[in-house]
Symmetry: C2
Subunit: 410 residues, 2 copies
Amino acid sequence: MALYVQKFGGTSVGSIERIGVVADKVKSFRDQGHDVVVVVSAMSGETNRLLALASEISKKPTPRELDALVSTGEQVTIALLSMALNERGCPAKSYTGGQIKILTDSAFTKARIQHIDVDSIRSDLKTGKVVVVAGFQGVDPEGNITTLGRGGSDTTGVALAAALSADECQIYTDVDGVYTTDPRVEPRARRLDKITFDEMLEMASQGSKVLQIRSVEFAGKYNVPLRVLSSFTEGRGTLISLEDEDPMEQPVISGIAFNRDEAKITVLGVPDIPGVASRILGPVSAANIEVDMIVQNIASDKTTDFTFTVHRNDYDKVLKVVEQVAEDLGAREVKGDNTICKVSIVGVGMRSHAGVASKMFDTLAAESINIQMISTSEIKVAVVIAEKYLELAVRSLHSAFGLDSEPTEE
Amino acid sequence: MALYVQKFGGTSVGSIERIGVVADKVKSFRDQGHDVVVVVSAMSGETNRLLALASEISKKPTPRELDALVSTGEQVTIALLSMALNERGCPAKSYTGGQIKILTDSAFTKARIQHIDVDSIRSDLKTGKVVVVAGFQGVDPEGNITTLGRGGSDTTGVALAAALSADECQIYTDVDGVYTTDPRVEPRARRLDKITFDEMLEMASQGSKVLQIRSVEFAGKYNVPLRVLSSFTEGRGTLISLEDEDPMEQPVISGIAFNRDEAKITVLGVPDIPGVASRILGPVSAANIEVDMIVQNIASDKTTDFTFTVHRNDYDKVLKVVEQVAEDLGAREVKGDNTICKVSIVGVGMRSHAGVASKMFDTLAAESINIQMISTSEIKVAVVIAEKYLELAVRSLHSAFGLDSEPTEE
């Protein structure tokens, strides 16, 4: 008998019929004797409908009122799902973020959870009820309704699982797990039975959009086993947890992540003096542009070359900012390229295996793919290459690191 | 400088455009220096949309969850109206029933208000804010969301006005006040400048649907001056308050109310023994049928005739119930008629004027209208007549009691 927190997203509860499917699924867990806490998002389309109403009223709606407005979306779903469960003879009770007391700070539209009061959930579970909680929302110390920002329902699920010391937080979504890479690029990609928090974080930040990064961070921090499953098909999904104790069990590489929407900017001939990096990146971040990779070459001739990448949408904006800065700095030239992409290999196994990076470079070289930038972490090697080589790079790496083989069934 | 509670119903906030009109109206009061607390309903159609979702899930949805669901309707409106006010430079803050703590009992879908915590409203008003409160909803001592039942937003408005000792509770609706009778029946009907709580209660219970009876009772009990106005046109509306101290100021009759949807049932030849009335009406009320007028004639021959009226929709159902009862009682016969109507004259002035009832009967006799039943209260005389005479009766009484004349402007 376990305690599960199960989170269902907007498409999983997008219609009365689908809410019924979710109710059946939850009931089947309950019937097996498990305790179940369900976290739901707004029905798909509802949040956008509400935001559209607000934008008809104001270009910059009051954030406090925006949260009061948007939070009704999840409230509708918790009530409907609880009704559907009760209708199936499975006693259920709904809670808004304010009712269960998901305490957050007062940063409207992007609040962070500070504490969850689980007493009422525990006593409901004891009486055999399924508890249905509105995701994405909370309440600040003054009782104002807050929201956690888009995708925040995953965070609600993980935070609840942590507060309740749940056995597993199950995130139901429209994919049936985490894959070695995107199956649309490499048809031989396979679902991973398990992956570590760290790997999942690297996969997510490298462009694999299965889970919100924040919820994975949270799960890792509180060691909440996270399982990604499909709400439409049966299956065991992918378990995201701490790494196995026996490093021999770890595959060297778990997956290949990639990101198409990149652009790079290089400032050539920058004087090699302290503070140059911040003098270049300060104005970029002041312009609200997020920087991804940063590379600075070893100085020669008392000047250096400084390169970084940004989201492709910010390319024109960042060029303007940097050209001004380069002039001020007396740099030689600014170059940019918005036809690049990033490909990363991710795996905790690479810690104990030398030569992973060089195997990656060899593989790309064998396909005559030129590497423009390299960035590494303990469990990741990322390279920037021309966008036209993306599929070729992903497929050849997928094969070179032995990911094409059949998954081992546990 | 006064404190107004202003309540706007579903049609008044039925679109973003109309919410803008309401915001303009509220702001103009605020700009005059008045304190304003606004109570709003769900946008028209929204409550029915939510109820339809629930009925797709269950024929008998869990009442607690129904309230959690339906209460989102008003929450959307308070957020949108507050945004619209802020957008106009009129600082505003929204509160759900749970946030402001409108404490109710736990009778889901038909809860009653027990207490309102007005501290946060007062401190918001002090800082110059307009306070926007969700009507129709509250929270029980356990923190469950409750609703007051249909039309409950009027009650919220009156209860808030009472708790705040407001100078006036203004109910904005789609009519511009209370009329001497329904203008669709008598085009010479005129708007009343004022009317007493008691008269309004009789008008409402006799079929005039401007306000919910419960909110009028509430206003009378706490002596909250109530004003009915149109949210679409300018005007002073009708003030509902305690009666003037000088009875000479009171018109004899304030209005003519009527109700088409009536049916009557007569049990003839009932044994005249104690307990007969309850033996007839007990099963009727057990069948959940509401009884309106009840008349029992003086006994002759040790038997009596017993007549009562019900809503026309209940006619077939009540006949079946009563025929069984009549057989058990040994009554002679059961007769029914579902082509009747009720017409009432209402006015506090009739207390001090003899002959009002006889003037009514004379007027009807002059038109050869046969009176089938009579029922009186201190400030009302109601008669049951054949439905075909309804318009004729209303018009002749309207004229006979001098209601056709022009309203006296104050």
